[in-house]
């Protein structure tokens, strides 16, 4: 009887070692993804900056969708002709005041909230906020649970329902993951404004003002201080970075 446990011990050890090895092999991809996911993007952003957009609806004519087209071309989210499942990173929402009968159109995209509900609810941390306030999805660790879409009050995110082709290298997309406006983070990191802002200024009404809210000398900081522009669903206290004049 006494010899049995002694014989069994090395076997058990070997088995445990094998299990440990198998477990480490299974964990490795997750750990690697984590290492090269959100952290990489965050490393380039400065916490001293708070990127923001001020959209003057008085300069945003009805029927103009230059910002939408520019975003779609820049980031390659053209649809498949299926409106209910196609992605939309930015859209124009037509508003009608029932009492006065007045109409206006509002470009709506991810509002890059200071306290983003999507980041709070994401189980894996795939939804994250860079130090400069840009809210992104880490496509490597998004599991496609869509809880962020349930939590976002702005309907700003889309789920990729079908396989995607012809992706832009700077805006990776993946079937089964969630996506939304990145504020053209690839352009920002290269010192250029978002595609929508650039196009609106060049060909549209110049309705979009982009800049750093934390810089008191910036045009956007001065305009926000002067006009106290509106935020969509400010009652929720998410402190969005996108503000609207003449809403």
């Amino acid at each position: 009887m006494s010899t049995e446990p002694q014989q069994a011990l090395p076997d058990r050890r070997t088995m445990l070692r094998g299990l440990g090895g198998a477990f480490a092999t299974l964990l490795a991809p997750g750990v690697t993804l984590y290492a090269f996911g959100a952290n990489d993007a965050q490393a380039q952003a400065s916490p001293k900056v708070r990127w923001a957009l001020l959209i003057d609806l008085g300069k945003c004519p009805a029927g103009c969708d230059l910002c939408v087209t520019a975003c779609r071309e820049e980031n390659g989210w053209q649809g498949n002709g299926r409106a209910e499942t196609d992605a939309q990173w930015i859209r124009k929402v037509r508003l009608r005041d029932a009492r006065t009968g007045q109409d206006r159109e509002v470009p709506v995209m991810c509002q890059h909230c200071d306290k983003p509900a999507c980041v709070d609810v994401c189980p894996t941390g795939a939804s994250f906020k860079r130090p400069d306030g840009i809210v992104l999805v880490d496509k490597h660790i998004c599991i496609g649970c869509r809880f962020c879409m349930m939590a976002c009050p702005y309907k700003a995110r889309s789920f990729v329902h079908e396989p995607v082709t012809d992706q832009k290298p700077w805006a990776p997309r993946g079937k089964g993951t969630v996506e939304g406006c990145t504020l053209c983070v690839h352009r920002l990191d290269a010192g250029r404004p978002p595609a929508c802002v650039e196009t609106c200024a060049a060909k549209g009404g110049g309705a979009m003002l982009f800049g750093d809210l934390n810089d008191p000398g910036s045009e956007i900081a001065k305009a926000v201080a002067r006009h106290a522009p509106a935020q969509i669903r400010s009652d929720l206290g998410l402190e969005p970075a996108v503000r609207y004049r003449n809403l």
Binding site: L26, L27, P29, G30, V31, L33, Y34, R82, A83, E84, T85, D86, A87, Q88, R91, K92, V93, R94, L95, R96, D97, A98, V106, V108, A117, V119, D120, V121, C122, P123, T124, G125, I141, C142, I143, G144, C145, R146, F147, M149, M150, A151, C152, P153, Y154, K155, S158, F159, V160, H161, E162, P163, G174, K175, G176, T177, V178, I232, R233, L236
Partner: protein
């Protein structure tokens, strides 16, 4: 009191083999549907960027909620010291684990990237109620497993203290678990149909009802192979009372939830939608949840006076409660999303992204198969476990009556 003995199902009627065969078939179809959705993307489902959680979530949440409630009987027996429930405590634990596994399987297979489950288990955001739930769900399986061990192991079961301690831990855990599931919706401040702390107790009341209803149906189905009446006159009377109390509690929380939303002016729109103008959601609420899923089974239970009538009424009422439960989950989960998000209060909104309009949703065949497959997985585990291990009580002398035809 006579020593309690347990049995595994040794007799196998053709009907029970047919049932197991059906469960295997439905499970296989569910897996095939999941593979199909994984291959082609969610475009082959009825889900969209408006209805992001569809029928699979209805089944998954229903099963997960039922799982915690299935532990009722074990809790009553050990935590509240009611020996009459002890013969059913093992089945109660087994059913709790099986339902949870079935629900979780659906939830995971409905992910956009189910193969990244490992990422979900290694990368956490502790601010997320979903991340807490990953712990709550896996912890539940471990704790109920240990609780079953404490009840079933020859040596461990000698210690009443161990059983009671495990019973208390499991009882506390399941309350937290269902609070977590309810809070997935309760914490969603952006959506008018949710955003209410009452979602947590409402889900707990629902779990009590669904879990016990599943328990009754499994006992009724196992009757023939057990060779004696599992729903004895005594336990039948208790289950009749408990089901009625649970159904009334759920009705109470449902009424308070809707009245609160109706009272607050800002949320009246979503209530009018769900209760009056919502088409399929209104129909499912009044006809599915309230009439067929609450009032009718309550009436059946109330009308059953003698033990034989109770024995007949219990499975029928339980089936109706479960149908009502599915209807309720559909109204909560899908109906709550169908009502448009109000980005600009006071304005009429429209866009190419369906702002301001009620979202349409038609569940596709793969979604049905996936959801039903999860239910089949849960029941298959129970069917097999009952044949492999002694989960069911043996007949006591007083109950050795033949099974009613």
């Amino acid at each position: 009191m006579a020593k309690l003995r347990f049995q595994r199902l040794e007799r196998s009627s053709p009907a029970s083999w047919a049932m197991i065969g059906l469960q295997v078939l439905l499970l296989a179809l569910g897996l095939a549907a999941a593979l199909y959705m994984e291959e082609h993307g969610h475009a082959v489902s009825g889900m969209s960027n408006q209805i992001v959680w569809g029928l699979p979530h209805v089944f998954a949440v229903f099963l997960i909620v039922a799982a915690s409630g299935a532990l009722n009987v074990a809790s009553i027996s050990s935590v509240f010291d009611r020996p009459a429930y002890k013969p059913y405590a093992r089945l109660s634990g087994l059913l709790a684990i099986a339902l949870l596994v079935g629900g979780l399987a659906v939830l995971v297979l409905d992910l956009g990237r189910p193969e990244r489950l490992l990422v979900a288990m290694t990368t956490y955001n502790f601010k997320s109620i979903f991340a807490w739930n990953i712990y709550l769900y896996s912890g539940f399986v471990l704790i109920v497993g240990a609780y079953l061990f404490a009840m079933m192991d020859r040596r461990a079961s000698q210690s009443t203290r161990l059983g009671k301690t495990m019973g208390w831990i499991a009882f506390g855990w399941r309350l937290v678990l269902t609070t977590g599931t309810g809070s997935i919706f309760g914490f969603l401040a952006a959506r008018e149909a949710y955003d209410a702390a009452i979602m947590a107790p409402l889900f707990i009341a629902a779990s009590f009802l669904y879990g016990l209803a599943f328990m009754v149906l499994v006992l009724a189905a196992a009757n023939r192979d057990a060779g004696h009446e599992l729903l004895t006159a005594d336990i039948g009377k208790s289950f009749r009372f408990l089901l009625s109390i649970f159904a009334l509690s759920l009705l109470y929380f449902t009424v308070v939830h809707h009245l609160t939303k109706l009272y607050a002016g800002g949320h009246r729109g979503v209530e009018i939608f769900l209760l009056r103008d919502g088409g399929i959601y209104t129909l499912l609420f009044w006809l599915g949840q309230i009439a067929c899923g609450t009032l009718l089974p309550l009436g059946l239970l109330a009308a059953a006076r003698d033990p034989a009538a109770v024995r007949r009424a219990l499975p029928r009422a339980s089936l109706l409660f479960l149908i009502g439960g599915l209807a309720q989950m559909y109204v909560v989960i899908v109906g709550g999303q169908a009502y448009p998000l109000k980005l600009f209060p006071g304005f009429e909104a429209s866009s190419s992204f369906f702002d301001g309009v009620v979202a349409s949703y038609h569940p596709s065949l793969p979604e049905w198969l996936l959801g039903i497959g999860g239910m089949a997985l849960a029941l298959l585990q129970v069917s097999l476990a009952l044949r492999l291990m002694p989960f069911l009580p043996e007949a006591r002398t007083a109950d050795r009556s033949p099974v009613a035809a």
